[in-house]
């Protein structure tokens, strides 16, 4: 059992992170055309609304819930020390978890049933949606079956994740956890593992820079102002476009 645990909670996470980093960098640098959210709203919009909106808003909140417990475990425990605050936190998390579950189910059915959407679906999309669906079902059942996950995540899982970051993996805690939680962890690293090969890459190009950018964008092929001014210094690098 220990070999399996070592593989699942040490080797696999590192492999997943390595594949993620290399894969994402390669894809962004050399196959940028293939980075797209591949929206299918153009082919079908109505049921997409009931799938995409709850799924995305849900998963963003749920993701940040996990991230906060990972990054700030002490603060999380402090917040949870008051039962009302704990209840509020858990209830919202679970509500958004159900949002994801509902949205993803709609999306999955839509993908399988609608012939137009089938035409723009590949095997990886199906695999990814099943993986996400399993992951969400496990997540929700953990939240219901193993109460106050936000607390024990902060106290038990966060140290494990940090130990991975610190290149000194400690798997004692995770190896004695119930199998559902273990599966949820492995599933999470599985998502990281296949991330560069799926449409998930669009997360990394989320358009936050739009907020600060001016509305109009004019690009000059060459900075002719610089070229035409004989007083400018010759530089071996291409003049910057403005």
């Amino acid at each position: 059992m220990s070999i399996l645990n070592h593989f699942l909670f040490i080797a696999f996470p590192y492999a997943a992170i390595a594949v993620f980093c290399v894969g994402v960098t390669y894809r962004y640098k050399y196959a940028s055309f293939k980075i797209s959210s591949l929206s299918s709203q153009f082919l079908e919009g109505r049921s997409l609304f009931w799938g995409s909106v709850p799924f995305h808003f849900g998963i963003i909140i749920v993701f940040f819930g996990h991230l906060i417990a990972f990054l700030f475990p002490a603060e999380q425990l402090l917040w949870n020390s008051h039962p009302v605050r704990l209840l509020i936190y858990e209830a919202t998390s679970l509500a958004f978890g159900f949002c994801v579950l509902m949205g993803l189910s709609v999306l999955f059915v839509r993908r399988l049933v609608n012939p137009r959407i089938r035409a723009v679906t590949n095997k990886m999309d199906i695999f990814l949606e099943i993986l996400l669906l399993v992951q969400v079902v496990f997540g929700c059942s953990i939240a219901l079956g193993y109460r106050w996950g936000s607390s024990w995540f902060a106290s038990d899982l966060s140290p494990y994740l940090w130990s991975i970051v610190k290149l000194n993996p400690q798997i004692e805690a995770v190896s004695v956890m119930p199998w559902v939680i273990q599966a949820h962890i492995v599933g999470a690293f599985m998502i990281v593992f296949i991330f560069p090969f799926t449409r998930l890459v669009h997360i990394l190009v989320a358009p936050f820079h739009y907020i600060i950018r001016p509305y109009q964008l004019v690009i000059w092929n060459r900075d002719r102002k610089t070229i035409r001014d004989p007083n400018t210094e010759w530089v071996p690098k291409r003049p910057k476009n403005t």
Binding site: I35, S36, S37, L38, S39, F49, I211, R222, P236, K237
Partner: protein, 516 residues
């Protein structure tokens, strides 16, 4: 003053015969690929009609373009706030059924079907799913259907017309239509650029062509909503948006864009205009009634020494300035004031201008005595007992414009944000040139009358001759004045030669860098 150059276009609607050669030329070169079958970067619409996609002009449905907000403007259906909030599901996005589901026919069935009792048929199949479909819409579905209740009556431009005026328009004997060819307007204040969250769409500084970087587009789909002319299309297969590129590879090689080159009616003109880029925001946010005038004011005189100096300071090449001085679009738009932009009220400052159509309908019904005429006819001829003359003479100088089959209000709602005077002004000029030419060629109009007509609209005989030449006789190089792209620098448009100094041969280009 911040003078930039813009490749601008002019379509002379009075000459368009609606043959769709432009659309086919474009389709064959650019959009004959999977995912782009439904795209018509160039399309020709019948007006009155709903256009493509259906009712694209109705911004209550599609929420395209800019709208006024306080002193400034904001995007109607996209923008930073709306765009990012709606990014997971864009409520204002048209879907494929607003265009049409692309299809083909299973022609092979005609040949390969097994022997049977029935003739084999080529069934239509969807190009998306591959399954048989019932075709509901197709390319150019509304062609010439000006009278039909499905198309003409649903034209969003009829909203401004009273029910009586609409009825008058659709009386059988008054029925008329004209064609409206459309490509991307390569606007000065493009809504698609402003709406793109990834920053994939940009305006090229050198010539103002609006392009989508396919490597940066992430299918956030806001451009489709934002473009009020619905000229950005979403490729459902590649997950990238695409639009008219004004055939920039052809322009850079000194060739006219394919749609313009192939134009049978020779209605299309292309030339450079210099404009003041500092005024874009101010002009786009001005009062609706002033939009057209301000936009034309913003186009600068290419002979003015100050303008030339400012252009040069901005890196506009001498050859481009020279092209601007010979530009046919500048003449039509600014010098002669003969053209108008399409739907200026969308505030994108489109740089495709239209000469409004005179229509073949400047005639009036006149009661005359036909008795003399009837007596001349032989005894076996059929004699009509009415006393009406369908009068196409030019006796009435301007009366016939208001009496045209299309209410001016209709044309005004397309070309001047509802200002009938502007449309009338253009049509009168065209009429004047027509009267002037009638005097010259047919001679049934007196010289005095012809000159009077020109004076009335403020045209000199020289101008009238020039308008006539550029409208009727213009040769290829008169219609397309394309500045050289400077082929000697063209390679540097793609790659900076300095980056490859020290390399040899044609192999994989690896930079020669010192190891460390």
């Amino acid at each position: 003053m911040n003078v930039r150059s813009q490749v601008s276009m002019l379509f002379h609607l009075d000459k368009c015969i609606g043959c769709h050669t432009c659309s086919v030329a474009c389709k064959n070169i650019w959009t004959d690929r999977k995912g782009s079958e439904y795209m018509w970067w160039n399309n020709v619409e019948t007006k009155p009609g709903t256009g493509y996609p259906g009712k694209w002009e109705d911004q209550e449905i599609y929420k395209g373009g800019w709208q006024k907000k306080g002193d400034g403007i904001e995007l109607k259906g996209a923008g930073k706030k709306r765009g990012l909030v709606n990014i997971f599901h864009n409520p204002n996005m048209p879907n494929i059924d607003d265009y049409y589901e692309p299809f083909t026919y299973k022609y092979l069935d005609l040949i390969e079907s097994p022997e049977g009792h029935d003739q084999p048929t080529a069934r239509p199949v969807s190009l998306i799913t591959g399954k048989p479909i019932d075709i509901k819409m197709g390319p150019n579905w509304d062609d010439d259907l000006s009278g039909s209740p499905d198309y003409a009556r649903n034209d969003p431009n009829l909203k401004e017309l009273s029910p009586a005026e609409q009825e008058a328009m659709f009386q059988l004997e008054r029925m008329a239509f004209y064609y409206l060819p459309r490509i991307c307007n390569h606007c000065l204040n493009p809504a698609c650029v402003a709406a793109c969250p990834s920053g994939a769409i940009y305006k090229r500084g050198e010539d103002g062509v609006v392009l989508i970087n396919q490597d940066v587009c992430r299918a956030w789909r806001m451009c489709v909503t934002a473009c009020p002319y619905k000229k950005t299309y979403y490729n459902w297969h590649t997950g990238k948006s695409e639009k008219c590129i004004l055939c920039y590879p052809r322009i850079e090689a000194g060739l006219a864009p394919a749609c313009m080159h192939s134009c049978v009616g020779r209605i299309r003109y292309l030339g450079v205009m210099l404009y003041d880029a500092d005024r874009i925001h101010e002009v786009a946010s001005c009062d609706e009634s002033a939009l057209v005038k301000q936009q034309i004011d913003m186009i600068m005189d290419p002979f003015d020494s100050e303008v030339i100096a400012s252009a040069k300071a901005n890196g506009v090449t001498d050859s481009t300035i020279k092209a601007a001085q010979y530009s046919p679009t500048y003449k039509f738009v600014k010098e002669w004031n003969l053209a108008l932009p399409l739907h200026p009220e969308y505030r994108t400052l489109p740089m495709l201008f239209y000469v409004p159509p005179l229509l073949p309908v400047m005639a009036s019904m006149r009661e005359i005595n036909q008795d003399d005429q009837k007596e001349k006819l032989s005894s076996v001829s059929k004699k009509w007992d009415d006393n009406w003359l369908y009068d196409t003479s030019t006796e009435e100088l301007w009366g016939s414009i208001e009496q045209a089959r299309f209410p001016l209000k209709y044309l005004a709602s397309l070309f001047s944000a509802g200002d009938e005077e502007k449309v009338k002004d253009r049509l009168k000029k065209m009429m004047a040139v027509r009267i002037y030419r009638r005097w010259k060629t047919v001679g049934d109009v007196t010289e005095e009358k012809a000159k009077h007509a020109l004076r009335d609209v403020g045209l000199s005989t020289k101008m009238a001759d020039d308008i006539y030449y550029l409208t009727a006789l213009a040769k290829f190089e008169d219609r397309f004045v394309i500045p050289p792209a400077h082929r000697e620098e063209a390679v540097e448009l793609l790659e900076f030669t300095g980056d490859h100094k020290g390399e040899v041969g044609f192999g994989p280009s690896k930079s020669v860098q010192r190891g460390s």
